[in-house]
């Protein structure tokens, strides 16, 4: 199986600050990963770890400073025809209430997509196509016909957003925190949809989240990001059931388990984002419980350990 998307040493550098004191922050630092056809790949990490920047670069909303993004061996950085690219990659966003313009009807976006990408000429065919995708997410055209976003619930809007993104039959779907704003009682139904879509439409999903529990539930492979680096990547069962990197361990431990019996957790330390971005050596060394001297000097290398890749000095032979 060949990967549909490959990122090789993808890097994005922002420079911050005013006229006199400029600091350069490497928001995404030589990140490499690949996405297989019809798999769900999770990018997980806390806020400010570079996961959204990575997604925006894949969508073409930001240009990488260095590195390359290959879609079926074609470099996306050199791609100029954005519209052709949006036919193959689509996205679902975090806030369902913001996904559609409050003063426009939701259905308008569906018809526009069909028109702009010349998917179908006749009105009737277009309606059939829309109905097909809406049915797949458990809605129908009469549910959204003539309605404004304010008249639909968050769950419905997020389903509609998924249905719209599937209209062009994309091979890659980017879902940026798609359930964090959906009501708790409806959240799993939206999460389940991604699995269903990936199976029935053969679309790969890049699922971006900080919620490792849902990531574990739906994804095939996972990459844990920390301050611009992927610190651990591998099949989701291995990474989350048997975490290797201390940061992955910390993340898993921080999930509020739905079980009141679990004893209290040890206090944790949080450092400021900028401080950690500018750190020499391993960026996690500031709050790593298993820190060694070498961690503060040298950036660890990627180490393969039966199926997963870890960026940590602990596993250096």
């Amino acid at each position: 199986m060949t990967a549909i998307l490959k990122a090789r040493n993808l890097t994005k550098i922002y420079s911050l600050g005013g006229l006199f004191s400029r600091t350069k922050i490497t928001a995404v630092d030589r990140v490499s990963f690949s996405v297989q056809p019809a798999e769900i790949f999770t990018l997980a990490g806390e806020s400010g770890c570079g996961k959204t920047t990575t997604a925006r670069m894949i969508l073409g909303f930001e240009y990488p400073t260095a590195g390359e993004l290959l879609y079926e061996n074609q470099n996306l950085v050199e791609l100029r025809d954005k519209k052709a690219w949006f036919k193959k990659v689509q996205a679902v966003f975090q806030n369902p209430f913001e996904t559609f313009n409050p003063l426009r009807k939701v259905e308008d976006y569906f018809f526009e997509t069909i028109q702009n990408f010349r998917l179908d000429k006749s009105m009737k065919k277009a309606e059939e196509l829309i109905e097909e995708k809406l049915q797949a997410v458990g809605l129908s055209l009469c549910d959204i016909a003539g309605k404004y976003p304010g008249e639909l619930s968050g769950g419905q809007l997020q389903r509609a957003s998924i249905a719209r993104s599937l209209l062009t039959n994309p091979s890659l779907l980017i879902a940026d925190e798609p359930v964090s704003m959906v009501d708790a009682s409806l959240r799993m139904s939206v999460v389940n949809l991604f699995r269903k879509m990936s199976d029935s439409f053969r679309v790969s999903v890049i699922y971006i989240t900080h919620d490792l529990a849902t990531a574990y539930y739906i994804s095939d492979r996972i990459a844990i990001m920390f301050r611009g680096n992927i610190v651990e990547i591998g099949p989701v069962d291995q990474v989350l059931e048997n975490p290797k990197h201390p940061y992955t361990k910390l993340l898993i431990e921080s999930i509020p388990q739905p079980d009141p019996q679990i004893p209290e957790k040890v206090p944790i330390k949080i450092l400021e984002e900028k401080e950690e971005y500018l750190r020499k050596g391993c960026k996690f060394s500031g709050r790593c419980p298993e820190v060694q001297n070498i961690c503060k000097q040298q950036i660890p290398e990627d180490i393969s350990l039966n199926g997963t890749v870890v960026k940590c000095h602990l596993y250096q032979k």
Binding site: S47, Q156, D183, V191, Y217, P258, D259, I262
Partner: protein
């Protein structure tokens, strides 16, 4: 009546009038609740179920378009029950600042972006505490932050220099400086990632253990309730559908809605397919008749559509509002 805060049959509705059309949103509809002393009390429910409105009522802040339609909120202060909603403006202000601290949603954005944290903080404090100099207050705040394990240096920072999690923790820490007996926190961890969330929860637990006060924590995240609260109430469509000790609610949920909420939570190590509650949350403009959950309930019985179930004891502390959990004789009457 043995709680610190007693809510009795509270009804507060939003009355909106637009171009002659009147709309009533039944945000808190007949809620009775008793919140004990020295606990972290959780209120769970999804967005639009009225939990924020309930919190506003607890803060005695019922302002148009929100209107009181009946019921009472009373606080036990020095062995006297004080009806918070009938106080006048000055008394309310006194009650709030000596007794209650309210942490509204998104409180991490309360700081003035162009001023140092301490400036905003002093501005806000000096309007409430008289007779203390700014410097004294500031050193008090520094001490307080240090006690809670936060660096006092942050007071000299500008808001944009700190992360959301840090700002949220400072907002919470500073709002508890006057050692309030009651802290009302509305979704304090939404918009934060798991690590920052953990730090905020830790802080709240530390504060509670230090002051031995009552924290009312409103959030939709059942995982947080499981982690930090001792007792909790589940709210649905403006009504409380289940109350009880958190452990009991999680080990033996009685209301079908609570069951769904708990069983649909994903866990690491468990790949069983999870289902959400069918249907969509009801609109509070026209809540369903009878039990508000009946259109989505998989175990619906004859009564559910017509009659509203009351909160009934299942065990001593565990109460549920559901027709299915009644003794059969109850149903016939």
């Amino acid at each position: 009546m043995n709680g610190l805060i007693e809510v009795e049959q509270l009804q507060t509705f939003y009355v909106l009038e637009y171009l002659g059309k009147k709309k009533t949103i039944k945000a808190v509809n007949d809620v009775t609740l008793s919140i004990p002393e020295n606990v972290i009390y959780g209120i769970a429910g999804e967005s639009g179920c009225g939990k924020t409105t309930l919190l506003k009522a607890l803060f005695a802040s019922i302002e148009p378009p929100l209107q009181l339609f009946g019921g009472k909120v009373s606080y036990l202060i020095k062995n006297n029950f004080i009806d918070a909603l009938s106080l006048n403006g000055k008394e309310k202000r006194e009650l709030r600042w000596s007794y209650i601290s309210y942490i509204p949603q998104g409180s991490m954005s309360v700081f003035n972006p162009v001023k140092k944290l301490k400036v905003t903080y002093l501005d806000f404090l000096e309007s409430h505490v008289r007779g203390k100099a700014g410097r004294e207050l500031l050193s008090l705040a520094r001490q307080h932050l240090e006690q809670l394990g936060l660096s006092p240096k942050v007071l000299d920072a500008f808001p944009h220099q700190l992360s959301g999690g840090m700002r949220q923790r400072i907002a919470i820490a500073l709002s508890t400086l006057l050692k309030p007996q009651v802290i009302l926190a509305d979704e304090p961890t939404t918009a934060l990632d798991v690590v920052a969330q953990r730090a905020v929860l830790q802080l709240m637990r530390d504060i509670q253990q230090e002051i031995k006060n009552t924290i009312v924590l409103v959030t939709h995240d059942m995982g947080i309730h499981a982690n930090i609260t001792t007792c909790m109430a589940i709210m649905y469509a403006g009504k409380i559908v289940e109350v009880g000790p958190t452990q009991e609610i999680f080990s033996n949920p009685l209301h079908p809605y609570t069951k769904f909420l708990i069983h649909s939570l994903p866990r690491i190590g468990d790949k069983m397919p999870k289902k959400s509650v069918p249907g969509a949350p009801p609109s509070l403009l026209n809540p369903p008749s009878g039990c508000p959950f009946h259109p989505r309930c998989p175990e619906i019985s004859d009564f559910c559509q017509d009659k509203v179930p009351d909160l009934n004891n299942s065990t001593q502390n565990h109460k549920v509002a559901c027709w299915l959990r009644r003794e059969s004789c109850d149903c016939n009457s």
